[in-house]
C-alpha cells in the first residue's frame, strides 16, 4: 500500500538531520575554536572581524559556539532517552504482562515520581551531586522513566488484550516469550514516538537547567548557557539572545514534528480513516 509521507515527518526529519549533521561536523571542525576568547574583538556584529554570526561578550565565535552546542544538545538528548527507555520500557512491559501487584506497584511509584516536576527533580539532583551535564542527564532521564513506563504499559495492555496473545497463551507461551515476541515489537512504534517527544523535552530541560547554571558546565558550549550569558547584553547585542534560542526552538520543533510524523505514519486509526473515506 502506497501512502503519502506526512509533511510533519518530512519537515521534522530535515530539521533533525540538520541538527545531527551540524553536531557531527562540529566534532571534527568548527570555523574557530569555540572556547577561544578574543576580548579585543568582542561583541562583533554579523560578518564583522571574520565572525560569520558575530562574536559574544568575550569575543568567542558565535557560529562555532552554536555548532559545538548542537553536540552537547544531542548528547544530552540521546543519553536521557536511553536512560528512560532502558528503565521505563521494561518496567512498563512487566506491568502490562503480569498485572496485579507488580503493575500496581509500578504505577503507584510512577504516579509519585510524576508528581515531581522534572526540573524540580533536576534542581534537587544538582544540589545532591555536582551540577553538570551528567547530573542533568541523569535527572531528566529519571524524570522521563514514569512516562515511558506508563505509555508502554498502556500500549502493552492493549496488546495483551489482542486475540493473538490469547492464542499464544493457549499454547503455553511464557511471559518472556510474550514480551519478546508480541509485546515489544507491537509497542515499538509507541516507544519511538515517545522517544522523539522525550528528546524534544530533554533539549528544553537541558537548556533551562544550563540557563539556571545547573546543567552543562561552563567551558563546554551549550545553548542554554549562551542564553544565560547573553541576558546581560540584551541591550548591546540583542542577537546574542536570539541565535541560541532559535537553535533550541528549531531542534525542539524538529523532534516534535518528527514525533508527530511518525505517529501519523504509524497510527492505525489514521490509516483506517484514510481507507474509509
Amino acid at each position: 500500500m502506497r501512502r503519502r509521507l506526512p509533511p510533519s515527518l518530512l519537515a521534522g526529519g530535515v530539521l533533525v538531520a540538520l541538527v545531527v549533521l551540524v553536531a557531527v561536523v562540529a566534532t571534527i571542525w568548527t570555523p574557530r575554536n569555540p572556547t577561544q576568547v578574543d576580548v579585543v574583538r568582542r561583541l562583533s556584529g554579523i560578518g564583522q572581524n571574520g565572525f560569520l554570526l558575530g562574536s559574544d561578550q568575550l569575543g568567542r565565535d558565535e557560529l562555532s559556539l552554536l555548532m559545538a552546542g548542537a553536540r552537547t544538545t544531542l548528547l544530552v538528548g540521546v543519553v536521557t532517552v536511553v536512560i528512560a527507555v532502558a528503565v521505563g520500557v521494561p518496567l512498563g512491559g512487566l506491568a502490562a504482562l503480569f498485572g496485579g501487584a507488580l503493575e500496581e506497584a509500578v504505577m503507584r511509584v510512577s504516579d509519585v515520581l510524576l508528581a515531581f516536576p522534572a526540573l524540580v527533580l533536576a534542581i534537587l539532583f544538582a544540589a545532591v551531586f555536582r551540577p553538570g551535564t551528567v547530573t542533568a542527564m541523569a535527572a531528566i532521564g529519571i524524570a522521563f522513566v514514569p512516562s515511558f513506563a506508563r505509555v508502554v504499559r498502556g500500549a502493552g495492555l492493549q496488546v495483551m488484550e489482542q486475540d493473538y496473545v490469547t492464542v499464544a497463551r493457549g499454547w503455553g507461551s511464557g511471559p518472556l516469550r510474550l514480551m519478546v515476541r508480541h509485546l515489544l515489537p507491537n509497542v515499538g512504534s509507541v516507544i519511538i514516538v515517545q522517544a522523539t517527544v522525550a528528546f524534544a523535552i530533554a533539549i528544553l530541560a537541558e537548556a533551562s537547567l544550563s540557563y539556571l547554571g545547573l546543567g552543562t558546565t561552563p567551558g563546554t558550549p551549550s545553548w542554554g548557557l549562551m542564553l544565560a550569558e547573553a541576558q546581560t547584553y540584551l541591550a548591546q547585542a540583542p542577537l546574542l539572545g536570539v541565535w541560541p534560542g532559535l537553535c533550541i526552538g528549531l531542534s525542539v520543533l524538529g523532534f516534535s514534528l518528527l514525533g508527530d510524523g511518525i505517529r501519523d505514519l504509524l497510527d492505525p486509526r489514521l490509516v483506517e480513516r484514510m481507507a474509509q473515506t
Binding site: T35, V39, R130, P218
Partner: protein, 511 residues
C-alpha cells in the same frame, strides 16, 4: 585559623555598593535646596543581594553590613567611603602605646529607648572574643590583638592590645564590630535595634527592606525621611528599574556595559570611585605541578590583564600585580604589574623548562554566584589553552566553595575570587591559608609591619612584601575593579566609595 576572609568581603563586589568619591559631592550639594516644590524625602536604592539576616554578627553576608552598619547599627568608629577612620559612638580616643581609651557619646540611645553605655560595648566585644559566646560571623581575628576590654566609667571604655596593631582601629569600622544591645541581640536577626540615624521599619522578604529616620538620633539627624532598599539580582533589570524611575540609585553597578548609556544621560549621575578589592586567580601552591615556581610564573604570564579588564568590567578596573589595590584603605600599595607581564611565549618556555612542554591539565573551580568569576574562568581557560595548559572547569556555589575549597579539603588547583577585604595581605603569612604559601621570612615581615607605628619604614616593608609575593607568583593577580554607583541626577550626598563596608545614607538628600 586567623584569616578574616569571609563571605561579606567576597560579596561586596558581587552584592553590594561599590561607592566612590562622595565627600566632595556632599559639600557641593548643600546650597541647592528647595525653591517651592515638594522635596522628595524617600530614597529607593537597588541592591543586588538581599541580606540573610539583620543581625550584623549573624553571618558573613556582605549586604547585612551594607544596609545596616552606620545606618541602623553603629560602632566605636566608622570608615569613610575612602577608608579613613572617623569617630562614631566614640567621639574621641587616645592611644598610649598599646592602650586605647575611647570616650563615648553620653547622648546615644538605643532605638528601644534605653540609653547606650560602655557596658554595651564591653558586652559586644567580650561576646566577639570569647570562643564560647562568639557569634557565627567569623571576625574573631579583629579582636586577636586585643588583650582586654575594661569599662572605665559609663561613657569611657579602655581596650588594651597585646602589642601595637596598625590595622586594629580600621577593623573596628567593620560590620561585625557593630555594637549590639545585650537586651535585644536575640531578636536582632528580624527586628534590628541599634543606635544609628535610621530605625528599622519593615522587611519584605525577597522584595525590599525599609528604614525610617530616627528622629531621636543623638547626632546629626538624617536628611531623608525614609530609605527603601529594593532587591534586584539581575543587572539588566536593575538598570531598567533605574531608567524607568523605580529606583533613585543603584548601590552598585554590575552591568558595566550599560554604564555609557547612563553617563550620556543627563537624568543620571555616574560616580566612579576608587578601585576596591583584588580579583585573583588563586593557585593552590601545594598542588603537584603548581609547587614549581616556573609553572606558577608561566600561568601568571599567560594572563592578559587587559583582556580581563575589558571583557569583565568593560574597562572599569585597574591591573594589579600583587595583593594590594591602589586606594586609601591600603596606603602601602605599590605598582608591581611589571613583575609578571603578559608574555605567552615566555610562559610556554617556562612550562617547557618545568617539564610540561607536552601539556598540563589543571582543575579550575570558579564560583557560580559571581559573574566575574564565571567570566574569568572562560577567559582563563582560553588563555591557558594558548600556552598548552588544559583547564577543566567545575563551578561551585559560594557555600560549597567555603566548605570545600576555602576551609574544606582544599582539593583544587585554581579558583577565581575577589578578595574585597581591605588590608588582608597578612594572609600571606599564614601557611595554612587556602593558597598554601609557606614563607616564614615573609610571615616575619608581615608581623613586623603591623606592629610598626612608623609609616615610612612600615610602607617600605610592605613594598618589599608585595614584590616578593609577586615574584613568587603565589597567585595570578589580575585587577582591582572600580567602585561604581549610579544615581538619579537630583540625588546628593550619596556615598560612592566602597572601602567602607556600609552604605551610609544619613547625609544623602534630594536636590
Amino acid at each position: 585559623m586567623t584569616a578574616g576572609f569571609t563571605r561579606r568581603e567576597f560579596l561586596r563586589w558581587g552584592g553590594a555598593g561599590v561607592a566612590g568619591l562622595a565627600a566632595a559631592e556632599l559639600v557641593a550639594a548643600c546650597g541647592a535646596e528647595g525653591t517651592g516644590r515638594v522635596r522628595k524625602d524617600t530614597l529607593t536604592v537597588g541592591i543586588v543581594q538581599e541580606p540573610t539576616s539583620l543581625d550584623p554578627t549573624a553571618d558573613a553576608t556582605a549586604s547585612i553590613a551594607l544596609l545596616l552598619r552606620d545606618n541602623v547599627y553603629e560602632g566605636l568608629v566608622r570608615l569613610s567611603p575612602n577608608g579613613e577612620v572617623l569617630p562614631q559612638l566614640a567621639t574621641s580616643w587616645q592611644r598610649q602605646d598599646n592602650v586605647y581609651t575611647f570616650h563615648l557619646t553620653p547622648e546615644a540611645r538605643w532605638h528601644d529607648g534605653t540609653p547606650f553605655t560602655a557596658q554595651d560595648v564591653k558586652f559586644s566585644f567580650d561576646r566577639a572574643m570569647n570562643p564560647s559566646t562568639r557569634p557565627p560571623n567569623p571576625h574573631a581575628d579583629y579582636w586577636e590583638p586585643v588583650q582586654s576590654v575594661d569599662v572605665v566609667d559609663p561613657h569611657t571604655i579602655r581596650v588594651t592590645l597585646k602589642e601595637y596593631s596598625f590595622n586594629f582601629l580600621f577593623h573596628m569600622g567593620a560590620g561585625s564590630a557593630s555594637i549590639v544591645s545585650p537586651r535585644t541581640i536575640a531578636t536582632d536577626a528580624t527586628h534590628p535595634i541599634g543606635t544609628g540615624p535610621f530605625r528599622f521599619q519593615s522587611w519584605n522578604h525577597g522584595a525590599s527592606l525599609t528604614l525610617v529616620r530616627n528622629d531621636a538620633y543623638w547626632g546629626r539627624k538624617a536628611r531623608l525621611r525614609k530609605v527603601v532598599f529594593r532587591f534586584i539580582t539581575d543587572p539588566t533589570a536593575m538598570n531598567d528599574a533605574l531608567l524607568t524611575g523605580g529606583l533613585d540609585a543603584i548601590g552598585q553597578v554590575e552591568g558595566t556595559q550599560q554604564l555609557a548609556a547612563f553617563k550620556s544621560n543627563p537624568r543620571f549621575r555616574v560616580m566612579e570611585g576608587q578601585p576596591v578589592g583584588k580579583v585573583i586567580v588563586t593557585i593552590n601552591n601545594a598542588s603537584g605541578p603548581l609547587r614549581d615556581l616556573r609553572v606558577r610564573r608561566a600561568l601568571s604570564r599567560a594572563v592578559n590583564r587587559r583582556s580581563w579588564i575589558e571583557g569583565i568590567w568593560n574597562g572599569y578596573a585597574v591591573p594589579i600585580g600583587s595583593h594590594a589595590c591602589p586606594n586609601q584603605g591600603e596606603p602601602y600599595y605599590i605598582d608591581t604589574t611589571s613583575i609578571n607581564p603578559y608574555d605567552p611565549a615566555q610562559a610556554r618556555q617556562l612550562l617547557q623548562a618545568a617539564g610540561y612542554g607536552s601539556g598540563l591539565t589543571l582543575r579550575l573551580a570558579p564560583i557560580s554566584d559571581f559573574a566575574y568569576s564565571m567570566q574569568g574562568a572562560e577567559i582563563l581557560q582560553s588563555e591557558l589553552q594558548e600556552v598548552g595548559v588544559k583547564v577543566t572547569q567545575q563551578p561551585v556555589r559560594f557555600a560549597e566553595w567555603l566548605a570545600t575549597i576555602f576551609t574544606g579539603p582544599q582539593n583544587f588547583d585554581l579558583t577565581i575570587v575577589d578578595h574585597v577585604e581591605e588590608r588582608d595581605i597578612g594572609n600571606y603569612g599564614n601557611p595554612a591559608y587556602y593558597w598554601h604559601y609557606d614563607n616564614p621570612t615573609l610571615a616575619g615581615w608581615l608581623r613586623q609591619a603591623d606592629a610598626d607605628p612608623d609609616q615610612t619604614s612600615r610602607n617600605a616593608l610592605y613594598a618589599k612584601i608585595q614584590r616578593t609575593i609577586a615574584e613568587d607568583a603565589v597567585n595570578i593577580f589580575v585587577a582591582s575593579p572600580h567602585s561604581l554607583a549610579v544615581t538619579a541626577a537630583d540625588v546628593r550626598g550619596y556615598p560612592s566609595g566602597a572601602v567602607s563596608p556600609s552604605l551610609y545614607l544619613a547625609d544623602t538628600y534630594f536636590a
